[in-house]
């Protein structure tokens, strides 16, 4: 039996599970970008725009942060979908163990769940892009490519997080991870201001984070300033994280489910 078929069975479990919560998640996926773009882009933006926007590339603050927020939101979606649901699957609901007793193998369980996380990323990023368009913050038709790039940014995080979460026995480290990894990434990866504004020693740190690459590329596409060479580097870097995460997850899932 092809692996894809087995993984799809696990994906269907998550679809059934999602039927319970989809309404709330759709509301918050619309409300989130409206609040952020309204407060930061339109509100704070009017102050920023009064000064020079040269360091923003000459665009309004709203146009500057919208694609950055899109990428950052993809990362947040991954943190939300890849930590607690994975731990719950081995600890509270135990649905991973139920699946492992069926023909599904640990790697099918992982891939099927990752399919669902990808679906959630596509949904959230598409809604976010639509809100950006509604705010009139689009500057280039290339912006449609920002959707797959934002999803890829999310996928640079999700597999790594899932690989780690499945090894946990409690959720105490999750809030630490969110506070000391996710939030700093969110704030300092070029989302709200160019990385060039960071102290010199901190800039290389930003370049290492997958989020910065996602932010840069989404912004380049939304503003029409991306070039092929730079885009390729960003995509390869994000893909490398995604692939490394998948390799790690197949090992840790196997260890946890087949101990």
């Amino acid at each position: 039996m092809a692996t894809a078929t087995f993984a799809f069975r696990e994906f269907r479990f998550w679809l059934t599970d999602y039927r319970r919560t989809w309404r709330g998640s759709v509301v918050s996926s619309v409300l989130g970008p409206v609040l952020y773009l309204g407060a930061m882009g339109a509100g704070l933006g009017t102050l920023v725009n009064r000064h020079s926007t040269a360091s923003l590339g000459g665009v309004t603050y709203l146009a500057f942060i919208s694609p950055g927020l899109l990428a950052a939101q993809a990362m947040q979606t991954s943190f939300g979908e890849a930590l607690y649901p994975v731990l719950g699957s081995v600890k509270w609901v135990s649905n991973y163990f139920a699946a492992a007793a069926s023909p599904l193998r640990p790697r099918d369980v992982f891939r099927g769940h990752l399919m669902f996380v990808t679906m959630r990323l596509i949904m959230n990023c598409a809604v976010f892009l639509a809100v950006i368009a509604a705010f009139g913050a689009v500057r280039s038709p290339l912006v449609v490519l920002a959707l797959p790039v934002a999803v890829l940014t999310g996928l640079a995080f999700a597999p790594v997080l899932m690989a780690w979460a499945v090894t946990r026995t409690t959720d105490v480290s999750f809030s630490v991870l969110m506070r000391f990894v996710m939030v700093p990434l969110f704030l300092f990866s070029g989302t709200f201001f160019p990385v060039s504004q960071l102290p010199g020693w901190l800039q290389p740190v930003a370049y290492v984070t997958p989020l910065w690459h996602g932010v840069e590329l989404c912004r380049g596409l939304a503003l029409g300033t991306a070039d092929v060479g730079g885009a390729a580097v960003h995509v390869v870097y994000l893909l490398a994280w995604a692939v490394a995460g998948c390799v790690a997850a197949q090992l840790t899932y196997r260890k946890r489910l087949y101990e």
């Binding site: 069975r9 269907r12 059934t16 609901v93 139920a98 699946a99 007793a101 069926s102 023909p103 087949y258």
Partner: protein, 322 residues
């Protein structure tokens, strides 16, 4: 196989051997959970692993369930290797794990449907089977309710219903009735007995001797990762115990003194437990009369038939509940 001449096992074709293990070992780091066991399970029989917690029963079950690769030794299930053919074997197994792995947010019926999809069964087959399995496990009137408020016995029956969704040839039950009240246990036993009548091969672990006696055609007694005896419940009792047991309770102050006196009795064997003295004998009432003649006066006395509990005590020097 240590201590075992399976005299009561009928000779069977190789094709009817569903599970075959030899020299099976499972280690977790430095800890050896299963230490070189041999057993074989025949189509249609109810086979039990009896032993206290930590005896290696669940580790063995997980290996048979193809979710735990053996550290060494040979294991064949349905004629296949669990390490290389795990998915194909699991498609033909039903599993009732020790902990219920139900989705308590879903309804009773949805739990069966979700699980049926893992096996790639067509929707119509899943629906049909779900309805008949809910009937079989007496859950039809709760089919559309959420799982969370169900009683422990109902949840257990739902796990059993779920494990049957793929019409398995072998049903693995890890501690099927642990934590259930006596009435709920009897309902579960009744359903399992019916499955056995239908020809489903049952493999179960238990630390309840009454469960083993009720359900198992044949069992192995496990202790410390090893098999210490094998046979039918009756065969094991005949081999390792006397027909009757006299249980005597004394005032704690007189307990030891009474036990010493009782040693003079012409009994096969005597076990002095913390709260009771057990005397193994052919006839409990006669032995009680003999004890009274020695001037021993228990607070309570009970003459009963030997059980697997006595077999376990004899083989390991400990009680199953320890």
């Amino acid at each position: 196989m240590p201590h075992s001449e399976p005299t009561d096992v009928p000779h069977v074709d190789h094709a009817d051997t569903l599970v075959q293990a030899s020299g099976l070992i499972k280690r977790f780091g430095d800890f050896t959970a299963v230490n070189g066991i041999d057993f074989s399970i025949t189509r249609g029989e109810a086979f039990g692993f009896l032993g206290p917690n930590g005896a290696g029963k669940s580790s063995t079950m997980r290996m048979v369930g193809c979710v735990s690769p053996p550290t060494s030794g040979r294991l064949t299930i349905l004629g296949r290797d669990p390490v290389t053919d795990g998915a194909a074997i699991r498609a033909r197994l039903g599993v009732v794990p020790q902990e219920n792995t139900l989705d308590i947010e879903l309804t009773v019926r949805e739990n069966l449907i979700v699980y049926g999809r893992y096996f790639g069964l067509p929707r119509s087959v899943i629906r049909e089977r779900a309805t008949s399995l809910l009937e079989f496990t007496q859950l039809s009137d709760r089919a559309e309710d959420r799982v969370e408020p169900l009683s422990g016995g109902m949840k257990r029956r739902l796990v059993i219903a779920r494990s049957l969704i793929n019409d398995p040839e072998i049903l693995l039950l890890d501690e099927p009735t642990t934590g259930l009240d006596p009435q709920a246990r009897h309902i579960v036993w009744d359903r399992l007995f019916r499955l056995k009548q239908r020809g489903v091969t049952l493999i179960l672990t238990t630390h309840y001797m009454d469960e083993a006696e009720q359900l198992c055609d044949r069992l192995v007694v496990m202790d410390g990762g090893q098999i210490v005896a094998e046979g039918s419940p009756r065969d094991l009792i005949e081999r390792y115990s006397t027909p009757e047991v006299l249980e005597l309770r004394f005032d704690p102050a007189e307990h030891e003194q009474a036990a010493e006196k009782l040693a003079e009795l012409p009994a096969d064997r005597q076990e002095v437990l913390a709260d009771r003295v057990l005397i193994y004998t052919r006839n409990g009432d006669q032995t009680l009369a003999a004890a009274r003649a020695l001037g021993v006066e228990p607070i309570t006395s009970l003459a009963r038939r030997s059980t697997l509990e006595d077999v376990f005590l004899r083989l390991t020097g400990r009680q199953l509940g320890d």
